[in-house]
């Protein structure tokens, strides 16, 4: 019995080996595939897979192998999965990370192992500043940038005062700090809620209503954004105090928020209707490959991440041991981003435009996100000075 067991084990290893041979590009992908925010992880995976389809599932002629791991939205699990991918799967690149706290927990493992890590969403301020690394690139943004754009837009609208609400974790604090850094009016109140367990915002909404603020700003990604908007509308505050958002309304939450989201503006670096040809191809093929689904900015960032990796692999002709050459190539951002203009600051965070998006009814009568204006051009994060890299 024991013998058969060992034999089976040896056979499994022998069978597994050729597939993991040195002649493939191995990519680890850490995201959330279970629990309430699994839809975000699915969208990232869908987009990454679509990018690989567009690349012929090869990079510089070598087959690409992707190992997806679920972090369950928990920092400790994310760190474990990162260790597993780097130490036992020996991946060439590690991609993904929705949540800033998960990324911060996993960062050191990747940097110490000198494995390239591409953050396809999370952008904690530390990553742009003191924790910046030659081995870490972002295809998203630094957390503060998007709310900073929103603050700028609120200035343009002549908003005089705001009440801020956000979740009590790394990204929530960055987001509210971001609005405060550009908004010129008065910040009447600032509330943090327990993340991710608190889903009832009645106490915070009551405070915001009674604060006599002229506007409310929130950051609630995923399902929490649906809950916030439902409660905001049900409490009758929508008719009284306008809401400004970052990462609260996207293609995943909109089908659940429905009319409650109509006319609520948000800032974003990518919107589905941006007119460049790469984006048209991405959005059209995504909707063809995954009927009934629409890509989100999370997906767009993952799509870009695959193309960024491809540019590096092509530059070294598939020899992924040439890390310096790959780093130098990625710093050039030598690929066509679906968001249009894209270049890197010295801290490997994109310098990019931010757009104003609004919720409207599209030609089919369905609710959709639409680009209204460009709020800022070539925005760079405010932490690049703290990054010691040259």
């Amino acid at each position: 019995m024991k013998k058969t067991f060992w034999l089976a084990g040896a056979m499994a290893l022998a069978l597994a080996q050729p597939a993991l041979g040195a002649d493939s590009i191995k990519i680890g992908f850490v995201s959330t595939f279970s629990g309430p925010t699994a839809a975000i992880g699915n969208d990232m995976r869908n987009s990454f897979e679509l990018a690989l389809d567009h690349l012929g599932r090869k990079m510089d002629g070598k087959p690409v192998e992707v190992i997806y791991e679920d972090d369950g939205q928990k920092p400790d699990v994310g760190k474990q999965k990162t260790e597993k991918l780097i130490q036992s799967d020996k991946v060439d690149f590690i991609v993904g990370y929705i949540w800033s706290n998960v990324l911060l927990a996993s960062l050191k493992t990747a940097v110490d192992a000198k494995t390239f890590l591409i953050s396809a969403n999370a952008g904690p301020s530390q990553l742009a500043g003191e924790l910046c690394s030659p081995y870490v690139f972002s295809t998203s943004w630094q957390n503060d940038q998007t709310p900073q754009a929103m603050g700028t837009y609120m200035n343009q609208k002549g908003v005089k005062s705001v009440f801020l609400i956000g979740p009590n974790y790394a990204a929530g604090k960055d987001m509210l700090a971001g609005v405060k850094s550009t908004f010129k009016g008065q910040v009447v109140g600032e509330e943090y809620t327990v993340w991710p367990s608190q889903l009832d915002f009645s106490a915070e909404l009551t405070k915001a209503k009674n604060s006599k603020a002229e506007s409310i700003f929130v950051f609630y990604p995923g399902a929490a954004g649906v809950q916030f908007l439902n409660q905001y509308a049900q409490a009758g505050i929508k008719a009284q105090i306008p809401l400004y958002t970052a990462f609260t309304i996207d293609e995943l939450s909109l089908p659940l928020q429905k009319e409650n989201a109509l006319g609520v503006p948000g800032a974003q670096q990518w919107v589905n209707d941006l007119p460049n040809p790469e984006n048209k191809k991405f959005v059209e093929d995504y909707r063809k490959k995954y009927p009934n689904l629409r890509p989100t900015f999370y997906g767009a960032q993952s799509y870009d991440a695959a193309n960024l990796i491809n540019s590096a692999v092509v530059a070294v002709k598939g020899d992924t041991t040439k890390k310096d050459a790959m780093k130098a190539e990625m710093e050039k951002a030598n690929f066509k981003s679906v968001r249009g203009p894209f270049k890197y600051g010295k801290n490997h965070i994109p310098i990019q435009n931010f757009y104003l998006q609004d919720v409207v009814k599209d030609a089919d009568g369905q609710l959709a996100l639409k680009t209204v204006a460009t709020i800022v051009k070539d925005s760079q994060d405010g932490f690049h000075d703290k990054c010691p890299m040259k």
């Binding site: 309430p36 509330e191 943090y192 608190q198 009645s202 809950q227 439902n230 049900q234 659940l256």
Partner: protein, 304 residues
């Protein structure tokens, strides 16, 4: 004015927790059965309501159908799986019902997909109403308060004033004895479990329009329900009611006023970070104190 509104918020949250805790305490106290899958029934109630409302186009009809469906699901669940676990010790029950949580989460993922559902309210429930001059309160939250109070009253009448209730209370005090008196204890347990399931489903479907209908929605709130039955005394409906109101109030008022109180002694940044953490701890502090002072809970059911 703010205090009135925040107290109502706390009261409403407490009543909702009561619906969940009432079913849990009945099952735990009377059947001596630990049901971790109670939160899954809460989730199923919400999914049923969202589905039936979409089918029928009527919120009220959808809700009524969902209530019936959760009741039925509870009875089937008890009949198929749980009745085989009554004789086992609590650890086996915890393991089996934890397995049920995983089962329900994946079943929902298979049937409805991972993205979650929306349960939109009819227009007449989405307007704020003026309850006292100058204080507006969301109509839907007000209707939760009314429905939950009605259910609490009904439960009280059923448990204290009817023959079934007498049997339930007798079952809580001495199971063997009422079995020996010729009462069909199996049927009684099935009924109690179905009732508990329907209460959980009601809590879930009432919470659904405020939150989203999503996988795992019952897990966080179940922890609070367990805290409540520990504070209130296991098996005691009255205890569950009072403890639920208590917990709802502490949670909401803590979140509402603690940040401002802390700002008097701490820097603003430190206070806004510490306050949410501290206010979510208050409930557990309360439970710890109750466990030290009165380990049997504040309002224990009659002794066994």
């Amino acid at each position: 004015m703010v205090l009135v509104e925040q107290s109502l918020n706390g009261f409403q949250f407490g009543l909702l927790l009561f619906l969940l805790a009432a079913g849990l305490t009945l099952v735990f106290g009377i059947m001596d059965f630990v049901n971790l899958a109670h939160g899954s029934l809460y989730m199923m109630g919400a999914y049923f309501a969202a589905t039936f409302t979409a089918w029928t186009g009527s919120f009220i009809l959808g809700v009524l159908l969902a209530l019936g469906a959760t009741l039925l699901l509870g009875i089937v669940l008890e009949f198929v799986a749980l009745r085989h676990l009554y004789g086992r010790d609590h650890l086996d029950q915890v393991l089996a019902t934890f397995g049920l949580i995983l089962f329900f989460n994946d079943a929902v993922r298979l049937i409805w997909g991972p993205a979650g559902l929306a349960l939109p309210l009819p227009a007449w429930l989405t307007v704020p109403v003026q309850i006292i001059p100058g204080v507006y309160y969301p109509a839907y939250r007000l209707s939760i308060i009314i429905v939950a109070l009605a259910v609490a009253a009904l439960l009280y009448v059923v448990v204290m004033r009817t023959k079934i209730g007498m049997l339930i209370r007798a079952g809580a005090s001495n199971r063997e004895m009422i079995g020996a008196l010729g009462i069909n204890i199996k049927l009684l347990f099935t009924l109690v479990f179905g009732l508990g399931a329907a209460l959980a489903g009601l809590a879930g479907l009432m919470q659904a329009p405020i939150l989203t209908v999503q996988i795992g929605m019952g897990e966080n709130i179940l922890i609070l329900a367990f805290v409540i039955i520990v504070i209130g005394g296991i098996g005691s409906i009255r205890g569950a009611f009072l403890a639920a109101i208590f917990v709802g109030m502490i949670d909401t008022l803590g979140r509402a006023f603690l940040p401002d109180l802390l700002r008097m002694v701490l820097s603003s940044a430190a206070a806004s970070t510490a306050a949410p953490a501290l206010s979510s701890m208050l409930i557990y502090l309360l439970m710890a104190i109750v466990l030290v002072v009165r380990p049997e809970g504040l309002f224990p059911a009659a002794k066994r």
